[in-house]
């Protein structure tokens, strides 16, 4: 039998994160944090830890709980609040790879501190020329004494500039696009041979370019076998930003509707114009459809069957990118000039949707993958 109801635990999580966003995450605070050096508030991060959110999606023996649906509950609310805290980078991406690849000792050490809010992590995988190709790793790792020495350039590593530890992918064998030969390493960003150049991003977050020149790394998992771990992690990240997009779209639809019921032009509320009504109906349908797809397919992201997981993730990303494009662009257009301004919140929601469409595979990339899985 099908059930789309949340479990009691999921409902509790949902209530807690929605309450937090509504009461403790006002837009001006978010804006201030976003413009700070780290791009988020350490105080919020501490609260996330206290509320248990830094354990979501991590293994139970490390104090973690939940899977893709719990992640989605969290991310949708983060979308509503336009949260900039590095949950995706730290818990889902870096934490996720450690949980899947790390030894018991590594998990103990790294995830313990992560869940407690004592250590922020980041994941450095993409490279300047990799676009969405997960196997395209040119950064290399060579044995050096007991450990490994890494050389290369990692691109747009989310929150890479405020992490205490980095999880970095590098190749010990093979050519740039081979799936074999890719490894994961834990790297101290303050270590020798590591240069971190942080910068703000167009969606109010932060990221970093990371240059490695003989940087010391500790191997995470088996040598050369990290590809499936990275692939699953990025699939989960893609699903997570789809859930975030639901929150973003919900806010944009509500704002547009509110505005159309108050703004007057030509002697009537603009919401009375039929051409605009039909476009708002389209925005409503786009969101409702995306939400239904997420409700039904999010559980498949946890499937042990890789093809099933990837079909679900790619369908979600195609639908949510398409809906996000429509909702984002129409929200700005129907508002008119006001939504073009930095002062008005809608513009920030629009920008985040625009960046999501370029993260973890764009619409065509996922459409091609879905097609390949349907052969």
């Amino acid at each position: 039998m099908l059930s789309f109801d949340l479990t009691d635990e999921q409902q509790l999580l949902k209530d807690s994160v929605e309450r937090f966003i509504e009461r403790s995450y006002p837009f001006d605070k978010r804006r201030k944090a976003s413009k700070s050096e780290e791009g988020y508030s350490r105080e919020h991060w501490k609260q996330f830890a206290d509320l248990g959110w830094l354990a979501v999606g991590l293994p139970e023996d490390q104090g973690g709980f939940g899977g893709a649906r719990e992640v989605a509950v969290l991310m949708e609310a983060f979308g509503r609040g336009l949260v900039t805290e590095p949950w995706l980078a730290s818990v889902l991406l870096a934490g996720g790879t450690i949980a899947r690849a790390g030894s018991a000792a590594q998990q103990e050490e790294l995830l313990g501190a992560l869940v407690a809010g004592e250590s922020v992590l980041a994941f450095a995988h993409g490279e300047p020329r990799s676009r969405y190709d997960i196997a395209r790793v040119e950064t290399t790792a060579k044995r050096s004494g007991d450990g490994w020495a890494l050389d290369g350039h990692k691109a747009v590593a989310l929150n890479g500039d405020s992490a205490d530890r980095l999880v970095v992918s590098a190749r010990t064998s093979g050519k740039a696009r081979d799936r074999d030969g890719i490894c994961l390493f834990v790297v101290d960003p303050r270590g020798k041979g590591v240069e971190v150049r942080g910068y703000p991003t167009n969606d109010g977050g932060r990221a970093a370019e990371i240059r490695l020149a003989g940087a010391a790394g500790t191997l995470l998992g088996e040598e050369g076998q990290a590809y499936p771990v990275i692939e699953e992690t990025i699939d989960r990240a893609a699903a997570a930003v789809c859930a975030e997009a639901l929150g973003l779209m919900a806010v944009l639809n509500a704002m547009t509707l509110d505005y159309s019921k108050t703004r007057e032009q030509f002697g009537q509320k603009i919401g009375a114009f039929q051409a605009l009504q039909h476009r708002m109906a389209d925005m409503f349908v786009a969101l409702e459809e995306s939400r239904s797809l997420a409700d039904v397919y999010m559980a498949d992201v946890d499937s042990p069957d890789k093809a099933e997981r990837q079909r679900a993730v790619s369908a979600l990303k195609v639908q949510c990118d398409k809906a996000g494009r429509l909702v984002g662009q129409e929200a700005v257009q129907l508002h008119g000039g006001i939504a073009m301004t930095d002062d008005y919140q809608a513009s920030h929601y629009f920008k985040r949707l625009s960046i999501i469409a370029r993260q973890f595979g764009d619409m065509d990339w996922h459409l091609d993958r879905y097609a390949a899985l349907t052969q």
Partner: protein
């Protein structure tokens, strides 16, 4: 998505499959799977088979002959019958007039009409649209004047689907023109054999005869055939429209159409292999598949909500919009897949018993007619523009 079925659900699926295997006429099945013309007997025969199993109107209340299924059983049944090539049920009797009769009709009317609908022996048609009242249904003008214990009906209906096969019509008539247009409408059940009724075919652009104009010339309808109160017909009509829309997702049909499209693409040669290998065309097929899966997810959620006793609200409007858009998209992609062989017009190839060699591939003949005919789905059942108006008004509060 992997739906986990309970053992009961699994065994139900098997029994549906076995039933279809045993009972579905192979000729009927072939027509459905190949998009050929159906006869009245194809529908009625299958309906009768289902009726003898108690499955013809499974969604009806138990007391009238429903099957008492869970929503999941309905889902399984629809999926299996559609995949196997069983004909769809004509909605006019089972889905449309029957709920009106059991909700607003009197005991006499229930006794008279429900059994024939259940068994499939009585074919109904819908007398709603008129030449001058399309989307604006309430502006209808077909007049019913009281004459002792009869109404004298004069006027005409249009777009009446399969009226040429119908035994009865449920019909909106005007008994009063003095007030608001929604007032003064009366809901009558009319025996199509009554003198004064004439049915005139309307040939649609693909060449088919599916719809008709029905003219009433002093047609005497017993007052006993009136549903509910005189002048309250609009209430009953609106009730029925809700029933109509939610049935228009057409997921199993869309899946069948997509499977057919994939088969055609695999047969069409292309520069490097077949069209099914062409990345551009594969992307298009995947895109529509994701649209289908998305709409299916919405339907599954609605089903789950129905288990909990929630009735579908104005969601029905967006399901109708998306379902019909997907229909049209699929027929258009099929045109694209077939290419130059969409041109031949071969209506005879859609008839049973036509045994000549096809023009081009054997799947080509129904493709253009299907595309042309499917233009109707965004127009009928409340045009998609009307559905957007409904969303704007009733969901968005505009």
């Amino acid at each position: 998505m992997k739906i986990t079925y309970t053992a009961e659900e699994e065994s139900f699926r098997q029994s549906v499959r076995a039933f279809i295997e045993a009972e579905l006429d192979p000729g009927t099945r072939r027509k459905v799977l190949n998009g050929l013309n159906m006869s009245k007997q194809d529908y009625v025969g299958w309906h009768g088979k289902l009726a003898s199993r108690g499955w013809s109107c499974p969604h009806w209340p138990d007391e009238h002959g429903g099957a008492g299924w869970t929503p999941m059983q309905h889902f399984i049944f629809d999926d299996e019958t559609s995949t196997a090539g069983a004909p769809g049920m004509m909605p006019f009797g089972p889905d449309m007039v029957a709920p009106v009769i059991w909700t607003f009709g009197n005991e006499e009317q229930k006794k008279q009409h429900l059994p024939g609908i259940l068994s499939g022996e009585v074919w109904w048609c819908q007398g709603y649209s008129e030449p001058n009242s399309g989307s604006d249904l309430a502006s209808l003008r077909t007049k019913a004047e009281r004459d002792a214990d009869h109404y004298i009906v004069n006027g005409g209906k249009t777009w009446t689907t399969l009226a040429q096969w119908a035994d009865w019509m449920f019909c909106l008539t005007r008994t009063d023109s003095s007030g608001k247009k929604q007032e003064g409408i009366t809901f009558l059940l009319i025996d199509m054999k009554t003198p004064g009724i004439s049915v005139h075919p309307i040939i649609t652009m693909e060449g088919g005869h599916e719809v008709n104009q029905v003219i009433f010339d002093n047609v005497r309808v017993p007052v006993a055939n009136r549903i509910g109160e005189e002048g309250k017909g609009w209430t009953y009509a609106k009730f029925l429209l809700g029933y109509e829309r939610s049935g228009m997702a057409g997921i199993p049909q869309a899946k069948r159409a997509l499977a057919r499209l994939r088969a055609i693409a695999a047969d069409q040669e292309d520069a490097d292999g077949t069209l099914a290998d062409n990345p551009r065309f594969r992307r298009k097929m995947s895109d529509v598949e994701i649209q289908i899966v998305t709409l299916e997810a919405t339907m599954l959620k609605l089903l789950a909500q129905q288990v909990q006793g929630k009735t579908p609200g104005p969601e029905a409007s967006f399901i109708k919009i998306r379902g019909t858009e997907i229909d049209q998209h699929l027929t258009e992609l099929t045109m694209e897949a077939v290419g130059p062989y969409v041109a031949p017009f071969a209506p005879e190839a859609l008839d049973t018993g036509w045994n000549e060699e096809p023009i081009g591939p054997d799947y080509a003949a129904p493709v253009a007619p299907g595309y042309f005919n499917t233009r109707k789905v965004t127009i009928y059942g409340g045009s998609n523009e009307i559905q957007k108006n409904i969303i704007a008004k009733h969901v968005l509060g505009l």
